[in-house]
């Protein structure tokens, strides 16, 4: 079932999109996403997928063209990173409001300034509230699998929303990893052809993107929220189905050695693997440490998260983005507010780490856990290991 390959993750993500038989790709290159753009165009140029590749002149146009093609009923993929994602920002909430299940591969990278091409999550965080479903992959296998999940979830009639798959720039995109590439026939079985709800075609005339006055605008917002909140049910079903067919399990929050843990780290993205090693090391030293890895960022899996923290006394939440002048990193704020109503809740501390490609090693996670063991830091949130 599937073949095991050693493949650069960026390329693997494009291969996964190809397995989904996309009709149109509209992509503008940016480091560290460029290999995704290039490989998608290779796939189209070689005729491996019968699709159009639009060499747009900007990311704003990439997502705009993606909306146009998705609105005709064409399965459409785009990809970006950092400045490109922010350049798209005007169009992101429109794609979700129009309920167009575009899939976007995001090679997460720091946002300027200063300009920096390396990884953190400061690109996706400001885009959090645009109504897109957001997956966070931890390794190449997850990137491939989640790309396929993204089409199936987004296109589901009960969802009809765009989905982004976040993969850490360089740390994932440029790594050659062992990946089990599903067979085409397996993906065809898993992912049915896209049957759009409404399309731009003279045989059935519709107007899309009409003007919403105050009497209707709020209802439009609410319905989008209902859709994304409810999508968690479909996401879980799709993940169950995937597990049954492919044997790989996906959960919104993945726990690692938390059963009897006193303290748990919380990560999103590729740092989960480093943090796992730190947990093993801490366990060897007699510290009852565990790890929670968030795989689904939007919709936020509140119930899963609450279930996952049972018995844990301290949470050390890591963030790879800053909320300037805010209460702490975005993941931290989210979790702290999610747990406010809980009768029994852990102490929560926040570390801001790995900004702009700053390396975070096993020893760092170990140090963070030890420092947080009392449930309090000297500051509300700490820029771990940062000078000044």
């Amino acid at each position: 079932m599937g073949k095991r390959v050693g493949m650069e993750v960026a390329i693997a993500s494009a291969e996964a999109a190809a397995l989904c038989r996309f009709d149109v790709a509209a992509v503008y290159p940016i480091t560290p996403q460029s290999h995704v753009a290039e490989h998608l165009s290779d796939i189209v140029a070689d005729g491996r997928v019968d699709a159009s590749f639009i060499t747009v002149e900007s990311e704003h146009s990439a997502l705009s063209a993606a909306i146009g093609s998705e609105a005709t009923g064409a399965r459409t993929v785009t990809a970006t990173s950092s400045q490109g994602l922010l350049f798209m920002s005007e169009i992101l909430p429109i794609a979700s409001a129009m309920r167009l299940p575009i899939v976007m591969l995001i090679a997460n990278r720091a946002v300027s300034g200063p300009i920096n091409i390396w990884n953190d999550h400061s690109d996706i965080m400001p885009m959090r509230d645009t109504g897109w479903i957001s997956f966070f992959a931890e390794n190449g296998q997850e990137v491939v699998d989640m790309t396929i999940h993204a089409f199936k979830v987004g296109e589901h009639r009960d969802v009809m929303l765009p989905v982004n798959v976040n993969m850490d720039g360089f740390q994932l995109t440029h790594m050659v990893e062992p990946i089990i590439m599903p067979e085409q026939e397996e993906v065809d079985r898993f992912l049915p052809p896209y049957i759009p709800y409404a399309t731009l075609h003279p045989d059935r005339i519709v107007s899309m993107g009409t003007l919403g006055m105050p009497e209707i605008f709020a209802e439009a917002q609410k319905s989008k929220n209902v859709a994304i909140v409810n999508s968690i049910k479909v996401i879980k079903e799709v993940w169950k189905e995937w597990e049954a067919q492919f044997g790989r399990k996906y959960e919104p929050v993945q726990s690692y050695r938390t059963e009897d843990a006193d303290i748990a780290l919380v990560t999103m993205g590729s740092m989960g693997e480093t943090a796992e090693i730190a947990v093993d090391e801490l366990r060897k030293q007699g510290v009852k440490a565990g790890l929670l890895k968030i795989k689904l960022w939007r919709p936020f899996p509140f119930d899963d998260f609450k279930a996952a923290i049972k018995g844990i006394k301290v949470l050390a939440v890591t963030d790879r983005a800053v909320s300037f002048g805010g209460p702490g990193g975005p993941v931290f704020s989210e979790i702290r507010s999610a747990l406010y109503e809980e009768a029994v809740r852990p102490a929560i501390v926040n570390y801001i780490i790995g900004l702009g490609g700053r390396d975070v090693q096993v020893e760092d996670f170990i140090a963070m856990v030890k420092k947080a063991s009392g449930g309090k830091l000297s500051e509300p949130y700490e820029f771990y290991g940062v000078r000044g």
Binding site: D23, V24, A26, D50, A51, S52, I54, T55, V56, E57, S58, H60, S61, S64, A65, A66, I67, G68, S69, E70, A71, T72, G73, A74, T76, E90, I91, I94, M98, L200, H201, P202, D203, I205, V206, S207, M208, G209, T210, L211, G212, M213, I216
Partner: protein, 332 residues
């Protein structure tokens, strides 16, 4: 003799005679929309849709036309229509084209040509949408782009655009005590489209409805990018009376301020004749509040510039050759 008498088929007087033969009775842009009285842009859209016919998908940039036609839950559009944002109708339209093409090739939709047509105002085309337009045209999508140029951002309150004429008063380039309105000359977008090697570029106005619709039909046939720059009067923004909408378009042509021509495969051709002795620009300027502050000297400056622009165009008309004819000459 004025143009109207000399070229009856270009003008509205003979509409009753010619219309049934030339103009489809079908309405794709329905009445009941919310445009101002005498809006040239809404009229132009109605005519454009008639010329395009049903196998069309329209992508509309934000602006007056989107706002007046699509107030949820109503729509004036009896064609498939999409609006996404202000700067991107050319990009969205290029996606529509790519999507339709891929789906048709793959047998997922009916096997017939459906034309992607993107439209926008002068702001949505010449300013904020310029990059998207340039990209879409350069990529050679099978798409027609029509710019409806009413020479300012009307939807948001008559602010200046790069289509605003020299010295016109707008709300961001007002005729002040010291500065008399817009300080620069109108950008020549059709020329920039010609420089993109767009196979068919034309200027038009609904004041010459048959000419406009013929151009739309011709552009629709082109298998590739085509561009029409449609000059439309806006009584609200120009501070002119609503019944002068058609007249102003005619005067713009007869004065040489907005000549009607087409560029096919690089060859320029005037499509509506202009009197040997062009009317003075004053005839066009005088009925419009946006030019009310102009002094005779300023009008003279405009006249001279228009004369030079006119001559430049005449030189192109006389000397330009289609790429096809140049190719034929080489092989001879």
């Amino acid at each position: 003799m004025n143009t109207a008498m000399k070229n009856p088929k270009n003008v509205i007087e003979n509409f009753d005679l010619y219309a049934p033969k030339l103009v489809s009775k079908e309405e794709f842009f329905s009445p009941g929309h919310r445009a101002c009285q005498g809006c040239g842009e809404a009229l132009a859209i109605r005519l454009m849709c008639k010329a395009l016919g049903k196998d069309t998908v329209i992508t509309n940039a934000t602006g007056c036309m989107e706002v007046i036609s699509s107030l949820y839950p109503t729509t004036a559009w009896n064609l498939p229509w999409i609006h996404v944002a202000f700067p991107n109708s050319a990009a969205v339209g290029s996606g529509v084209e790519a999507g339709l093409k891929a789906l048709r090739r793959k047998g997922k939709i009916a096997d017939r040509r459906v034309k992607s047509v993107a439209i926008g105002g002068d702001g949505g085309t010449m300013d904020i949408g310029f990059q998207a337009l340039s990209g879409a045209m350069e990529r050679c999508h099978d798409m027609l782009y029509v710019c409806f140029d009413n020479e300012a951002y009307m939807n948001t309150g008559i602010q200046r655009s790069s289509g605003t004429p020299f010295l016109a008063s707008t709300t961001t380039a007002p005729a002040g005590k010291k500065i008399p309105g817009n300080q620069v000359w109108k950008k020549n977008l059709p020329e920039i489209m010609v420089a993109h090697n767009v196979a068919y570029v034309a200027t038009a106005t609904p004041s010459y409805p048959i000419d406009f619709m013929n151009k739309v039909k011709k552009a629709r046939q082109i298998k590739g990018p085509a561009y029409i720059h449609c000059f439309v009067a806006c009584p609200t923004g120009w501070r002119s009376t609503s019944e002068t909408c058609i007249q102003l378009g005619r005067l713009a042509n007869e004065t040489g301020i907005f000549p009607l021509y087409e560029v096919e495969d690089g060859k320029y051709r005037l499509t509506v004749e202009v009197p040997e002795k062009r009317r003075p620009v004053q005839d066009y300027l005088k009925g419009q509040g946006r030019f009310r502050h102009l002094t005779p000297d300023q009008i003279q400056v405009i006249q001279e510039r228009i004369d030079i622009e006119w001559e430049t165009l005449m030189i192109k008309i006389e000397h330009s050759r289609s790429k096809e004819s140049l190719r034929a000459r080489r092989s001879r």
